[in-house]
């Protein structure tokens, strides 16, 4: 059923689709699965977001960017709520989001079943090089330039690259 409320909520979702992640500027906050809900209240609008990692330093900026984008489109009384549960997972990343990451040079997260392995000195995940598509790659460091990434290098084209860790 089309109601005035539905139209408003859709309008908010549409605005959120264009907000970039400050640390991975090729992805939007929707691609990454950071936006969990949009709620309409009698006196305003509420956007529910969740952090990728507990210490993600981008959250304050994301909240501010959402507020600014909505203000610009005429929304008032904007509330942004951060929730921790259910905990964010890379499973929420859209296929479109994964495609954009790869095109940008960041290997997208592998499907989950491959990694939930806490064995010590386990074989590193096989990650495809986003540059030359080779699977002949190796991990340089489990921790990368941001909390959500690990550092890999391609053994064929020799390019180092970021891998968006499965989480």
């Amino acid at each position: 059923m089309v109601t005035a409320n539905n139209i408003l909520v859709d309008a908010v979702w549409k605005i959120l689709k264009d907000i970039q992640d400050p640390e991975v500027p090729v992805s939007t906050i929707m691609d990454l699965g950071i936006v969990r809900d949009v709620l309409l209240h009698t006196d305003g609008v509420e956007v529910v977001i969740t952090p990728t990692y507990s210490g993600c330093p981008a959250m304050d900026m994301i909240a501010m960017n959402i507020r600014l984008a909505l203000l610009e489109k005429g929304f008032r009384n904007i509330k942004i709520k951060t929730v921790l549960s259910p905990a964010w997972t890379t499973d929420w990343m859209s296929e479109e989001g994964k495609r954009k990451l790869k095109a940008y040079g960041i290997a997208p997260p592998n499907p989950k079943q491959q990694v939930c392995n806490n064995d010590l000195f386990a074989l590193h995940e096989t990650v495809q090089c986003p540059q030359c598509n080779s699977y002949h790659t190796h991990r340089i460091s489990e921790f990368g330039s941001t909390a959500c990434k690990a550092l890999y290098q391609c053994s064929d084209c020799k390019e180092p690259f970021d891998y968006f860790k499965c989480h």
Binding site: P51, Y53, A87, N118, G144, A147
Partner: protein, 270 residues
């Protein structure tokens, strides 16, 4: 009961903040670039967990008008100025005697071996503790723990591998990590001795009984030590007091440094 829950949330927050701060001392000084990035990433995760617990403690304090005595002199003054408790006032304006962190997290970083070993001891403990907190009757404590567990799994695997690498490495790395065991072992027992606020909320199903995870922790340490060719310590002298605000001089030195800007310029904003 809220008083005890607030104290518990602060205990969990202080552990994460102080260890996160200690690890951040490696920023720009790690043995190699990748490990410098690794230890500072772990700092970031811990400080993020600390923020979640501080925000929750602040929410509880504001909702229940808990006495500003929770924070001590400067904290009370800050509370009068701001009108409400914030995560920042809890981190920057409480005195050391109000911090409830374990003594192990305030110990100096020492060398790489000491930093690694402390991280391993703490991550093994945090992993078991958060597994139990997943079932906490307090929804927010459970949510923070579930979120944090994914990060702790990485910390535990990384630090375990490093303990093995150092212990079963060269003569020098082995002797350094052995020395680290001597330095840190007597601070591990405190993790498994509950204090009053833990016991009070244990009854409500909010916190687990820490004595119940001691055996699993010892098993984990034995497993990794055996792979690392390290001797399992026989003595079990235990330093306690941190959880109740009785700290060594190290905590004061840490707070002096990281609270100095906030206290010198309390009205400054980002």
């Amino acid at each position: 009961m809220n008083k005890h829950l607030i104290e518990y949330a602060l205990h969990l927050a202080d552990n994460a903040l102080i260890l996160g701060h200690r690890n951040s001392e490696w920023c720009g000084h790690g043995p190699v670039l990748e490990q410098d990035i690794a230890i500072t990433n772990i700092s970031l995760d811990l400080i993020g967990q600390a923020r979640n617990f501080y925000q929750y403690a602040a929410t509880l304090m504001n909702a229940h008008q808990v006495s500003p005595q929770v924070g001590g002199g400067d904290f009370s003054a800050r509370l009068r100025e701001e009108g409400a408790v914030t995560e920042d006032s809890l981190a920057y304006f409480r005195n050391s005697s109000k911090f409830k962190n374990l003594l192990i997290v305030e110990q100096p970083i020492g060398d790489w071996a000491q930093t690694i070993l402390r991280q391993f001891f703490f991550s093994a403990y945090q992993n078991l503790l958060f597994e139990k907190l997943k079932e906490s009757q307090d929804e927010q404590i459970a949510a923070i723990a579930i979120k944090g567990l994914k990060e702790v799994a990485y910390h535990l695997r990384w630090s375990s591998e490093w303990v093995i690498r150092l212990g079963d490495g060269t003569e020098e790395s082995h002797s350094r990590v052995t020395k680290a065991v001597d330095e840190l072992w007597s601070y591990t027992g405190e993790m498994f001795i509950p204090v009053d606020y833990e016991l009070q909320i244990l009854k409500k199903g909010i916190a687990p009984d820490v004595t119940s995870i001691k055996e699993s922790w010892l098993q984990k340490v034995k497993e990794i030590f055996s792979e690392a060719m390290l001797k399992f310590p026989l003595t079990y002298l235990i330093h306690t007091g941190g959880k109740e605000g009785k700290h060594g001089e190290y905590l004061d030195l840490i707070l002096k440094e990281f609270q100095s800007v906030a206290r010198a310029y309390p009205t400054a904003t980002w």
